[in-house]
Symmetry: C2
Subunit: 445 residues, 2 copies
């Protein structure tokens, strides 16, 4: 195509694998913002091929004749394509297509956190060796530009800790429970009916998706990697309305957090429901929003907040990565920044701090028979295990009935806590398994 | 210097002009993080020259022999220097040095928002023509990576609005007033004594610094520019403890906001103290922190929060820009991204919406003699000007004494409001000038 000046306008040809919700959003965004992107890039971005098993469904976006194909393999082998967007999800074929595209000298953009959490080392090494680019902004925090921020903007500082609400579904459920007074199962069912939670919500509510994202954030922030399968992960299925209300009485909100801190040569990393002070910004992150707090040695605290999922927000992250990859192609500067911001060969493989060594404050809830001496008994066992109580709430009840005793402990070792709880759990006056929720008074620090 | 492999390690030579607080932080950070930066860059970053009028003072950082000079002009002319960091501030010499460095083919990093707000067009054009880079991350939001986010991460979306707490001094003063119950003058004096406010705090507390930053944010976010001298700016000197308390009763906090919204072919832009709902994230931004909220058509709301000033936080932004400029030199990709993310020639010069046309909710405070009919009189004048009252607080007092009447209006035109207030101000029962504070119920949207 000729421009007025007689200069041939350059074209960057993009292939998309996976024409689902996000893929449709990307096609729509690149069409709607075609002129803006062209102005910024000085070249024309064109989606020339889209591969999906379903080539018939109308997605509400216009696709040129011959663009749709069922053949993803042909797409990644097509020499006319400069950039491949992988939005098919999963580990198997996605891994194959990404590696093949890279081997073919193409830059890749993906939103696939599961793939990168599990096969990241292999993929990043291939990208470095081929001196192409891989963009994965959409894999963590939806439209929040946290990947680029960690990879480039915070590049001159040493990061000490990070903490994020990185799963929109879990945050939506906890936010609704806090707002409505409903129980977990009811909110989950309503969220599924409204399309806000998957039919199989395991990854979201059991913390696995958050752990995938945490594994990536750790690599970006700390130039280190941990064994993904060893990450301590706890979901939100056991959070009850009672706990949310009692947390509020203590001045806390319950959030599913992904936490990582540098501790000497080890990293403390964990995903679990956490009580955060209601005055902290993270406590105000409601609905399907995400937020990530980073603590840098020189920078101090910074927090990034936005839509953690959804068709168009996620599409903005994918499209920005495509623009970035295109810029590097146009400038002959592919591989300008390593996938993680530093050469993979310089990544440290570090040990996780065992959860038993964790030292934090705890919220404890016991369901007991309201009898004299029950409290003294529980407090005695806690004291024996070096756990001291900062504050306590005991609700009144009829004598002899079941009543919750709730405690906020001072900082204690998880090892000691578990030992104490095991002893308390077998007391005849204690009904139900004792509940504990970890507290972060300065999340992200 | 040779590496083990026998490959000569590349060096990037940096010159710094302005060895004040931030400059000292940059030198310290580049020394402390020397190895990290080297790993990320694959090259050695070296500060080879520092120019300042004071070459004797001990700044607590080590500087090699012969590095310090009084001659900034020689520094920008030194062919051995690849990147110039300008931290001297001001408009005159800073402009000359930046333009001369650019003309000499050097990339530039600056924290000088005043310079860019006033001479940005000239400087950005020179940078584009020379195909070098200019980094100015530190000019807005201290260590918050908002410039890169707007320039690159949000590149594929159309931004609709933005709103920021971008002056740490003003935010510190308002936060302290809210926390302590002190009056403006006392908090300012204490902040000056503690080194948290300048001896001449005009730029900070009169909103001028916020307006400089807003002028830059508008160019980055909307591909448009407005006439800086026409930006409506109002500072915080007139905010009283009474207003902060009454705002709280209405559910609001008072923040100095820089606001911009796209309205068709015009831009609505303004800096003034603003009431924001206490439930909004921006209301929780305390002390010297900054936060910037951006509303994108596809992305929706995203918010960036962090240290808005200070030696080390600001140094991280400068250092990250130096790393970026160095990367482009090493990759032969200088000028890869235009200073504003799009070619200056494509920038639209747009008209500002006149403040008289603003339509928003208002907080109004009148100091009146507590007599029958005063309220009816005021409400009557407001009604005549099409301003309706959403809620009202009238404090009790002894009969005949002065008493504040406080109102929260529905949405009204500023033109109508000013006409009504002018009429009310001259009523004999109204003492003192009526106070009005604009309300943003969805700041950033």
């Amino acid at each position: 195509m000729k421009k007025g000046s007689g200069v041939v306008e350059r074209r960057i040809r993009v292939g998309l694998i996976g024409f689902g919700t996000i893929g449709t959003g990307v096609v729509r965004l690149l069409q709607e913002q075609r002129q803006r992107i062209r102005t910024r890039l000085g070249a024309h971005l064109e989606i020339v091929r889209i591969a999906d098993i379903d080539v018939r469904r109308d997605r509400g976006v216009e696709v040129g004749a011959g663009v749709l194909t069922k053949d993803g393999r042909a797409l990644v082998d097509d020499p006319a394509i400069d950039i491949v967007i992988e939005l098919m999800g999963g580990y198997g074929l996605a891994r194959e297509f990404v590696l093949r595209a890279v081997a073919n000298g193409k830059s890749v953009v993906t939103a696939n956190k599961a793939l990168l959490a599990v096969h990241g080392a292999e993929i990043f090494a291939a990208v470095e060796a081929a001196r192409v680019d891989i963009g994965f902004e959409a894999s963590v925090g939806g439209g929040i530009p946290i990947i680029r921020t960690l990879r480039e903007s915070l590049a001159a500082d040493r990061n000490l800790a990070l903490c994020g609400i990185v799963n929109g579904t879990a945050n939506y459920i906890l936010s609704r429970m806090a707002a409505d007074g409903s129980e977990f199962a009811d909110v989950l069912a309503a969220a599924q009916a409204a399309g806000l939670a998957e039919a199989d919500p395991t990854f979201d509510i059991d913390g696995i998706d958050s752990a995938h994202k945490l594994a990536l954030l750790i690599q970006l922030a700390f130039e280190s990697s941990v064994e993904f399968s060893q990450l301590p992960v706890e979901g939100i299925r056991h959070i009850t309305q009672l706990d949310i209300q009692l947390a509020r009485e203590f001045g806390y909100a319950i959030k599913l957090l992904a936490i990582a801190k540098v501790e000497g040569r080890r990293i403390e990393a964990r995903v679990h429901p956490t009580m955060v002070p209601r005055s902290h910004l993270l406590a105000d992150v409601g609905g399907a929003f995400n937020a990530i707090a980073v603590e840098g040695e020189a920078l101090g605290s910074s927090i990034y907040f936005g839509q953690g999922a959804g068709m168009m927000p996620t599409a903005t992250a994918v499209a920005a990565d495509v623009v970035e990859a295109a810029r590097n192609i146009l400038n002959g500067s592919r591989g300008r920044v390593a996938p993680l911001g530093y050469p993979l060969a310089r990544q440290r493989r570090v040990a996780l701090k065992p959860m038993a060594d964790l030292s934090t404050e705890y919220y404890l809830r016991f369901l007991v028979v309201d009898r004299p001496n029950v409290l003294a008994k529980i407090a005695g066992i806690l004291g024996k295990h070096r756990i001291s109580i900062a504050s306590m709430v005991q609700r009144e009840s009829e004598a002899g009935a079941e009543v919750p005793i709730v405690m906020h402990t001072h900082q204690a070792r998880e090892r000691d806590l578990l030992a104490a709880l095991a002893e308390i759990a077998v007391l005849p006056v204690v009904h139900a398994k004792p509940v504990f929720i970890r507290i972060e008074n300065n999340p992200g620090q």
